[in-house]
Assembly symmetry: C2
Homo-oligomer: 241 residues x 2
Amino acid sequence: MLTNIRIVLVHTFHPGNIGQAARAMKTMGLSELVLVNPRSFPHEEASRLAAGAKDIVERARVVDSLPEAVKDCVQVVGASARPRSLPLPHFDEPDRMAQALIQNAGLAPVALVFGRERSGLTNSEIRCCSHQVSIPANPDYGILNLAQAVQVLAYELFQARQKRADHEIPFRRPAQEPLPTQEQMKHFHEHLSQVVQKSGFLTQPHAQTERQLQAIFTRAQPSRKELSLLRGLLNALSRDT
Amino acid sequence: MLTNIRIVLVHTFHPGNIGQAARAMKTMGLSELVLVNPRSFPHEEASRLAAGAKDIVERARVVDSLPEAVKDCVQVVGASARPRSLPLPHFDEPDRMAQALIQNAGLAPVALVFGRERSGLTNSEIRCCSHQVSIPANPDYGILNLAQAVQVLAYELFQARQKRADHEIPFRRPAQEPLPTQEQMKHFHEHLSQVVQKSGFLTQPHAQTERQLQAIFTRAQPSRKELSLLRGLLNALSRDT
């Protein structure tokens, strides 16, 4: 289950933070690290500060963009210091986020995404996520170091996994409908945009309206079956116009 | 309430860890830092890595020994990677520890104690504690970096404080009996040792037996009133012999 949970670090500036994040992951039983455009990697500081988690640093996958890092994931949670105005589902309580992520990781890959040390995730990166989470903290100084944010959320994942293991009835998991991957959602949104434009509802591309539509379907969290249904409907609608 | 919660770092080797621990504290609303014999302090690495928590580093109190750091505390929780054979009350679940510490901090100072980076707390330092706590972690690699351990436990304290605030009924706190300070407990144990030796129960000083006796009374967590009662009893008993 835990190999389905991926930690994604976006544009990390200090290689030492990559090492410390890897160590934090390993202490909580996580092993899948993906780096989006790190400033300097591989780097000896990353390996040194990983301590006993050098294996995670060495196996880390480096990619060019956040969509590339999470395209096969069914849930993508972006960590941010404060809620954005974007209408994504937001977890105020990391333990609830952890329960949801652990549950989805039982079926397919999921990701927990951390932004740059100083500026976090951009709005366009947040839009690659299906959810946001923030760590409750001192309102006067709530800025956790990157590796420490990874540590706290990884700790919550470890706890959620243990609690789930306690309650799990062997051989009798309820049948669940898998969520779509981020790639499947992206294709859906592209399809939706085409249909909207073809319909004449928008006479020209209008990013704000498209984002609002996207947010509605992201919040709805359709299953794969429901997404097929929606795409079938879009096909039907665009044949009519 | 939070100024009653003290973070004590024992024999910290890397000054950078002091800074990172201070930052972790501040993100979770803690401000009282006591350093027992740090290898190198003050140090620019400590200030640099504290980031926005330099004030905590600057106000940190430096002392010579752990008993000095916690003598006025009514609860002293030692963080350790794995349970020792010492018979102290042990919290496996940091959230329970946090609830207890927050509750006691409503009345008097309490402390959370962290040992050296590599070797943790010695047995004699653990004996200065009233409780132990460990952070649930990967059984194959459960060694959190010092500042990350501080972060996780400070986060649990912040959560426990918020939950308590939610449930607190203003102006109607239940009357509670304060616990003795560590210094009061120490005087009691000295008194007990004298009486035991004077009684002829031990014909010569015997550290192991004395520790077992100490552990019994530490586990019992007597209130200040109960401790007075016990000391009165010891006085009465030693007059008889």
